[in-house]
């Protein structure tokens, strides 16, 4: 990336601005991670984890494994399974990326579910500058929220009382309805992907249902050409 110039890019600025409401959700989720993680792994480790992973579901899962007496290996496996979805998500993103491998790898680091999904423009195209901006607006909220949660501890009530855990599924549903479902094949891919995830949810460790849903893209993509 072009270092300090990055904030001058109009796509990045648009992503930063449009990402702000969701940065608020990241802040509160970050606080809840700090509250939950501090008694298990300590204050410094909780903040370092948020700063270096920037991956909510993997952080919650790995912390839950350690809290229940699981080994580091078990915690790592849980986290790796949840983050494996960045593999297919990165493949989806790849054709929209320009520049050398280092630049592409750096842009890949800003991949979080919300920013990736919000930068999808339908038909397989992505706006990488928008993703970088949206991810950058949520990063300080996530790390700062963790620090607040670590410091506040039990003073803060249960964040799920605010209904925050419904925000992201509703947002991804909105993106599907607004952007992806106009033509035949994307509708098949989304429907089949949902069904695969639903079928595997009760049977597999967390993370597997999302990765397995990639199969839906292959099935929907290799059929006969559209008329």
């Amino acid at each position: 990336m072009r270092g300090v110039n990055i904030l001058g890019h109009p796509g990045v600025r648009e992503g930063l601005r449009l990402g702000l409401p969701y940065a608020l959700a990241s802040l509160i989720l970050g606080i809840s991670f700090g509250v939950i993680a501090e008694p298990v792994i300590g204050p410094l480790a909780a903040i370092v984890m948020s700063a270096t992973l920037y991956a909510g579901s993997a952080q919650f899962a790995a912390t839950a494994v350690l809290a229940s007496g699981g080994s580091a290996l078990a915690a790592i496996v849980a986290g790796v399974l949840l983050n494996a979805r960045y593999g297919p998500m990165g493949i989806a993103l790849a054709p929209s990326l320009r520049g050398g491998p280092l630049r592409r790898a750096a842009i890949g680091q800003t991949m979080i579910d919300f920013a990736w999904a919000a930068s999808s423009r339908g038909g397989g195209r992505f706006d990488p500058a928008f993703m970088v901006g949206a991810s950058m607006s949520a990063y300080p909220a996530w790390v700062g929220g963790t620090a607040i949660g670590v410091a506040a501890g039990d003073e803060i009530g249960d964040p799920s009382a605010l209904g925050l855990d419904a925000i992201f599924p509703a947002f991804f549903l909105a993106l599907l309805v607004e952007g992806e479902l106009r033509r035949g094949r994307p509708l098949v891919a989304a429907g089949l992907g949902s069904l695969i995830a639903l079928a595997l949810l009760p049977l597999t460790p967390a993370g597997v249902p999302i990765i397995a849903a990639s199969v839906a893209a292959v099935v929907a993509g290799v059929g006969r050409s559209e008329p």
Binding site: A92, I107, G108, G163, A166, G193, L198, P209
Partner: protein, 111 residues
């Protein structure tokens, strides 16, 4: 502090930080910046709707530990968002309605 050994904690964080960065870099490095065959491009283009559909289901019905269906107030919230979207609403009102309905359902029903 808990009784989780410090070494276990820091090994977990270090390994996950490295694997997460590598996973995020893999697709962009391996497949970016070059022209792919049309069939491959077509499948890749369908990854976004397939993964989004799965994310909706998993975030609405999954639990942190995995291995179970957890039907709770989230279903009502996301359902209310679906109604907003079906009536032509955009993402932000749909998301707001989802949070409010979920919070109200938790407060009233304890679900």
């Amino acid at each position: 502090m808990s009784d989780v050994p410090s070494a276990e904690i820091w090994i977990t964080i270090a390994v996950l930080a490295i694997t997460t960065a590598a996973t995020r870099a893999a697709g962009p490095v391996a497949l970016g910046g070059r022209t792919l065959p049309p069939r491959v491009t077509r499948v890749i283009a369908l990854l976004a709707p397939a993964l989004l559909g799965a994310l909706v289901v998993v975030l609405m019905l999954g639990s942190a530990e995995g291995g179970e269906l957890e039907v709770d107030a989230r279903v009502l919230g996301v359902g209310a968002a679906a109604v907003v979207l079906a009536r032509g609403g955009t993402a932000l009102p749909a998301v707001a309605v989802a949070a409010v309905v979920t919070a109200l359902a938790r407060a009233l029903l304890g679900a």
